[in-house]
């Protein structure tokens, strides 16, 4: 039997509220830059929260052929831009991946933005003047199809709407496909645009902070909504070595689990299981981990449950493993979150710098882990875990390791 190929990350593309492109993003992230600003996408009158992590300076024409832009919803635009950046970052050209051994896997929470415009039009005006183009763009599967279409890929094409964990689901399955399906390249990640429904929904659950995200802080008031896209190029190791590609990290495996508990409330046992599964799948133990990029949304319930889960998995080491949350800076980018966070793990491994959890002021005895408060930390990171926990008990944990031959 053939030995299964190893899987490495060779390209990173990011569109975020703190920077577009790997370099600007990483520079801003390690500097503890907040991407939270006053919301402009829609009217926030009457709501407690006026702030979010919108991407203000995104010009789709910079990354996408002009004539195609109007046929793409915002989430697709963000994803194609991030994909384009990832391909370039990997030292590839689109032609390199335009074949049947390339899989395109996307994760999302809310799907395509034209759906929201369409629904609002229907609600306010009725069915008469609905825009045909928007109807065609509305369903969520457009997101994964648009990326594959743009880059003319011919392998597997999946859309995982597993919400706040979706990026990990996509990247994880990409790892599976390279190892088991003879796939050479995977373009995997997540994308979400700023959705009014999400903004209202999280506030109606009292899960949103009025102004800033303070993961693990005693006085944390909730999450902040964000948007963006993170896309990675995963590649067979041999292929990467053959072409002398720069390798960020190796994907060692991932673990999923399901709480089977509640549509929104997290279960620490389920969260812990996903981390344990991830370690087991990767042939590691809890002593091997140097960094946990936590889900850390800043809600009272998630952070408490996650801290509990970390302590149960990592036992005596729990308080000494850095467990940062970059949602403190970006807000919660929904389907893009775990993909952007996976990218930040790769960069932490590559550069030996852990981005901080900003806005941290008061320790919480129930979250007594090392969240790398406020200032980035220089530290060698060999193994990083990336947590993504979604509504409905969709738990995921991705394992990345410094590449060694």
């Amino acid at each position: 039997m053939n030995k299964q190929p190893r899987v490495v990350v060779t390209g990173i593309g990011i569109v975020s509220s703190i920077g577009t492109g790997r370099k600007p993003f990483w520079k801003a992230l390690t500097a503890g830059t907040s991407g939270i600003s006053r919301i402009t996408t829609f009217d926030t009158t009457g709501f407690k929260c006026q702030f979010g992590g919108e991407v203000h300076d995104f010009s789709p024409e910079r990354y996408i052929e002009k004539r195609r832009v109007k046929f793409l919803g915002r989430a697709s635009q963000l994803a194609i831009a991030a994909s384009s950046l990832a391909i370039e970052d990997a030292g590839l050209v689109p032609d390199s991946i335009a074949h049947s051994k390339t899989a395109v896997l996307l994760g999302t929470t809310m799907g395509e933005k034209p759906l929201e415009d369409l629904v609002q039009s229907w609600v306010k005006v009725g069915i008469r003047d609905l825009d045909r183009r928007r109807i065609l763009q509305a369903s969520a599967n457009n997101l994964s199809a648009n990326v594959a279409l743009y880059f003319k890929t011919k392998g597997q094409n999946y859309l995982f709407p597993t919400a706040c964990a979706a990026g990990n689901y996509a990247i994880g399955y990409g790892y599976d496909l390279i190892r088991n399906d003879g796939i050479d390249y995977v373009l995997a990640g997540g994308s979400d645009a700023f959705f009014y429904v999400a903004y209202i929904g999280f506030q109606r659950l009292y899960a949103m902070s009025p102004d800033r995200c303070q993961p693990f802080d005693k006085n944390r008031k909730g999450m902040m909504l964000g948007e963006g896209s993170g896309m990675l190029i995963l590649e067979r190791l041999e292929s990467a070595l053959d072409r002398g590609a720069d390798i960020y990290a190796e994907v060692l495996g991932y673990g999923l689990s399901c709480d089977a508990f509640h549509p929104t409330a997290p279960d620490p046992v389920g969260l812990a299981k996903s981390m344990k599964n991830a370690l087991a799948q990767s042939g590691l133990t809890y002593t091997d981990v140097d960094l946990i990029c936590s889900h850390g949304t800043g809600t009272p319930s998630n952070d408490k449950a996650e801290a509990q889960a970390i302590k149960s998995v990592f036992k005596d080491r729990a308080k000494r493993i850095p467990a940062n949350s970059i949602k403190s800076m970006l807000g919660h980018c929904m389907g893009a979150a775990s993909a952007i966070e996976a990218a930040s793990c790769c960069l932490a491994i590559k550069d030996g710098i852990i981005p901080p959890t900003i806005n941290y002021e008061t320790p919480d005895p129930e979250c007594d882990i090392d969240c790398v408060p406020n200032i980035a930390r220089k530290k060698t990171v060999n193994v990083a875990l990336n947590n993504g926990f979604a509504f409905g008990g969709n738990n995921s944990c991705l394992v990345l390791r410094k590449f060694k031959k």
């Binding site: 609600v123 597997q156 999946y158 709407p161 429904v197």
Partner: protein
């Protein structure tokens, strides 16, 4: 990957023409259509009036009367199908096997109903007064999560939303997870519900039959001019063969291969060369290690769309050569309509029924021949046939293509 033998040990279905596997298969046998005048919403704004509605569906009958209040129709459909599949399989979920049991659900469009309702409430009552319990349903992973909560499934729960191929894509994902030993049993479910907004959308895109021609689902027929939209839900239990045998499970059949490919042509348009579908079919045959001559029966993706049916016919001919004219190719969407993400799972369950009963399901409403679709579509009536292997196709405009091969269980 350990190429375990993956078998189907349980089946549950809520289809427009039958609820439960026996009723569904009986309806297919009799050529009974589930397409009828829509009762779920007012169709007066539209030219077309029909759909494959599960009009006999009563959620309370399957799920009890409590805890359904905030669940949308799609969730109730798929929970019911899943319950039927689990009961059919005899697989009892306990604390000993929950962590070895997973679920993957195929669904894409039904969330649009929930997002619409949520937005409408925000508009009517004011956004500050929207019901918080309505929010979780606005994400597409909600039905699958509800399955995991209701039945206590803990290994993993994933959702796949690739439209027409979602069920087969979910099937592949589930089979991969069993092969990778991440679970010993995985429920594969598929669902789309019928609701106003999707009917409206398909009407506006003029993708429905009855706008440019007769309002009828007549795959392969010259009169075909669009789909009849439908709803439905199905679920199958996939298990590793060794585990299934260990618990003396009744094995319906084995999954030989499933493949999915993207064909980058143009948004919402069919590639006239149908390369993606061809690739999928050929890859399935290759992966299963069988010759085209060993395929007994094809359950087509054909859905009464001019291009879809013609292109599938051509690809079948290109793949099977001279043998193509001898392979029965049924279009069950003639009876159940086009249920997008649920189509595949309903086709799979139909395929299992065909193997169980050694019967070929009919393509009904077949009246006028089309030289571009001149295969044996088992017209008008079902008939007896040798069905040891079934090939299932799914695709649509927009690029996704998938194919799967099942065969009768060979105990080795």
């Amino acid at each position: 990957m350990d190429r375990k033998r993956i078998v189907i040990t349980g089946v549950g279905v809520v289809a427009p023409n039958g609820i439960g596997k026996e009723a569904f298969w009986q309806a297919l046998k009799e050529g009974r259509s589930g397409i009828k005048a829509i009762t779920l919403f007012d169709t007066s704004p539209f030219l077309t009036k029909q759909a494959g509605e599960c009009s006999d569906f009563s959620p309370e009958e399957h799920l009890g009367s409590k805890g359904l209040r905030n669940l949308d129709r799609a969730t109730k459909l798929v929970l019911s199908a899943t319950k039927l599949a689990l009961e059919d399989s005899g697989y009892i979920l306990t604390d000993q096997n929950r962590d070895d049991t997973g679920v993957v659900t195929a669904t894409t469009l039904s969330v649009i109903n929930n997002i619409s309702e949520f937005t409408k409430e925000a508009q009517d009552a004011g956004p500050q007064f929207v019901n918080p319990a309505a929010f979780p349903g606005t994400t597409i992973n909600s039905p699958s999560s509800q399955i995991s909560i209701r039945f206590g499934i803990k290994a993993f729960n994933s959702t796949v939303s690739t439209g027409y191929t979602a069920s087969l894509d979910a099937l592949k994902y589930a089979a991969d997870f069993i092969g990778l030993k991440r679970a010993k049993a995985v429920l594969v479910a598929g669902v789309e519900a019928l609701f106003f907004q999707s009917f409206l959308g398909f009407n506006k895109l003029e993708f429905l039959a009855g706008i440019k021609g007769e309002e009828i689902s007549c795959p392969f027929d010259k009169r075909r001019n669009g789909i009849i939209l439908a709803e439905g839900a199905g679920a199958i239990l996939l298990e590793d063969a060794a585990d299934a045998q260990k618990r003396n499970a009744r094995i319906y059949g084995q999954l030989d291969a499933v493949k999915t490919f993207f064909d980058p042509f143009r948004t919402g348009k069919y590639n006239p060369k149908a390369d993606g579908l061809k690739r999928a079919m050929q890859a399935v045959l290759k992966d299963a290690g069988i010759e085209p001559s060993s395929v007994d029966y094809i359950l087509a993706a054909a859905n009464s769309v001019v291009n879809q049916d013609a292109f599938e016919t051509r690809v079948i001919k290109e793949t099977f050569g001279n043998r193509a004219s001898k392979i029965p190719v049924s279009a069950i969407k003639s009876m159940i309509g086009e249920s997008i993400s649920a189509a595949g799972i309903l086709q799979i369950i139909a395929g299992i029924g065909a193997m169980e009963h050694q019967i070929l399901w009919p393509t009904i409403n077949y009246k006028e021949k089309d030289p571009k679709c001149d295969l044996d579509c088992v017209p008008y009536k079902s008939r007896k046939g040798t069905v040891n292997t079934v090939l299932i196709n799914d695709f649509g405009p927009g690029g996704n293509n998938a194919s799967a091969l099942f065969s009768r269980w060979h105990n080795e």
